[in-house]
């Protein structure tokens, strides 16, 4: 018998008392009921708690804001689907475009100073931003290897709580949920920001 058939037979045998599969009580909250202003305020509060830097700006000011946050960076990587106008203020910098068809090597990603991506949806209550690999968010590697991640979140994409956010995305895409810069609690259970992932996370919320 193959291992597969063997294991499935063992499990069926273990369940010979045919235990009941209960109905799932889903009495937990399905949405937060918060308006856009409250959602923005809550998300900002949670991100700051994680030691991320957050700014809220009108969409028209996005290029200038990004340019300001990129001060000191000489190179930046962007996914191919990123709005070209966003980096209009970063004229003198070196902008590399990454795509699945023409991916940058890991060593190249390691050499750039920063990465700019959009995002799919955010969760205000937990301060979480979800990237789903859409063309304006790119391959998972580009938001991981560079040490500084600038992530743009549209106010309309902020959900109050996790169930609302997960309803808005396709679960079979390659997904990354990000809640603050990389961190560890492995030494005496004290949280320390900045380990292997980007040590600096800047979130720009546009409305």
């Amino acid at each position: 018998m193959s291992a597969r058939d063997d294991i499935l037979a063992r499990i069926r045998s273990a369940l010979q008392d045919t235990p009941e599969a209960p109905e799932i009580p889903r009495g937990y909250r399905q949405d937060s009921g918060l308006g856009e202003d409250e959602l923005v305020e809550l998300l900002v509060d949670r991100l700051i708690d994680y030691k991320a830097q957050v700014v809220v700006v009108p969409e028209a000011e996005l290029p200038a804001t990004l340019a300001g946050l990129l001060a000191g960076a000489s190179s930046v990587v962007v996914p191919e689907g990123l709005d070209g106008g966003w980096l209009a203020g970063f004229d003198d910098g070196d902008v590399r475009v990454d795509s699945a068809a023409a991916p940058l090597a890991v060593t190249e990603l390691d050499a750039v100073d920063a990465v700019v991506t959009a995002s799919a949806v955010a969760v205000a209550e937990t301060g979480t931003i979800i990237l789903d690999g859409s063309p304006n968010q790119g391959r998972r590697a580009i938001s991981l290897v560079p040490d500084h991640h600038l992530c743009v979140v549209r106010a309309a994409d902020i959900a109050g709580i996790l169930p609302e956010a997960l309803r808005r995305i396709e679960g079979t895409r390659p997904l990354t949920m990000i809640s603050g810069p990389s961190a560890t609690s492995d030494i005496e259970l004290e949280r320390v920001e900045g380990v292997h992932g980007p040590r600096r996370l800047d979130v720009v919320i546009t409305r």
Partner: protein, 507 residues
Amino acid sequence: MSSTFLGMPSLPVFGSGNLHAAESFPKAAHRELGNAQLRANLGHATHTIRDKRLKVVSELPDWEQLRDAGSAIKQSVMARLPELLEEFEANFTGGGGVIHWARDAAEANEIVAGLVRATGETEVVKVKSMATQEIGLNEYLEEQGIAAFETDLAELIVQLDHDKPSHILVPAIHKNRTEIRDIFLREMPGADPELTDTPAVLAMAARAHLRRKFLTAKVAVSGANFALADSGTLAVVESEGNGRMCLTLPETLITVMGVEKLLPGWQDLEVFMQLLPRSSTGERMNPYTSLWTGVTEGDGPQNVHLVLLDNGRSAALADEMGRSALHCIRCSACMNVCPVYERTGGHAYGSTYPGPIGAILSPLLTGIESEENSSLPYASSLCGACYDACPVKINIPDILVHLRSVDVDSKRGKKKLPSQMDVGMKAASWALSSGKRLGLVEKGLPLGRLAAGPDKKITKLPGIAGGWTQSRDIPAPPSESFRSWWATEHKATEHKTDTHKTEGEQA
């Protein structure tokens, strides 16, 4: 294929690997308790995490509803496990992944080593995984000439120190910052001799140490926190970004996961991603969670494998009282609140799974008669703090008591001579079965007073009762028993008592 069982019931097949207490818990605990530094480190860490957990859990108005949902989802998964596994297999394979089934630790190790060998590589990077710890994968790979590099900070500390993990979430919880600094200085090539013991500085040293490995690794090995049956999606929950590095940059990804980790579908993730981070690190959300469904062209590993592991899980499932131990999502909240774990630490439990959950899971996976695992269900005061903390409401105290009875039953009739406990229980059964007999026994109370002597304390009992007096005295028994006092006191007023009784009944 129908999921109804049609064949002959088979005997449970137990698991193997790093699941055993090699010495009995009381013996191991006695030794560990002698380490004052360990107790101080553990006390500090468990109290820090308890406070954090309570704070973030109290923020959610629907925490109890989430626990109820989590518990029911897991119960449903266990009841439907065969069909869910087949559904998951079809979807994972359809997404471009390859599934391997492993009956036990040895089979899983061989599969992983074979997959690594097929790539021609001799090094792998690893994401922290309880399943690979359980099967002893690193040790096996080393024998096969393959070096496995742990990338989680705490796992790295333990690996550099040639030590064993003592906690499922923070394997180096038994080390303080100064001890960790000393390990880095001793074992990490090129460590800065000026290294301080500030946690942030130590984290930076780990980053520098592992950076080149991440950027050049061709093969990664991971565990998984969740697997979604309806889509074939896998999820890894982590903090440092070492998980993302391993799951994203290499060409080949090999995941090892117990069969019980399944969730029916996407909607169930919203429950567990609220329960897990708050219960484990006491955060509203962990920094990074990665989800992947088979292979995504042009993004991440193109060669994706999953080893589905039984290793005693089917045997645990066969125990109707104990099967809910398989609901465990490895958050570690139970060990962080356990008064026993807090003092003995994780090494005393022997197994990969320490603390309250380990005290039930290890014997369920290996069978109660395996090595010293029968001592684990007694490693508890049954205070119930673990049950209160468990995000999926596993009734650990009830299962501990159940396993104690399994242990007693397994030993019944095997010993030629009755033990002190047997004799004591027999005597108690005789004495307590009638009032007359008890009265007779109580006539012996003055003997106890005699034994207590002038300071009115019994300081040392003989035999197994000696455990009680090891750390406390027993006050001298009274000169008269309550029953005999009652009899003399109420003889004269018998009539009056009867009147009261009648009045009470009328009211």
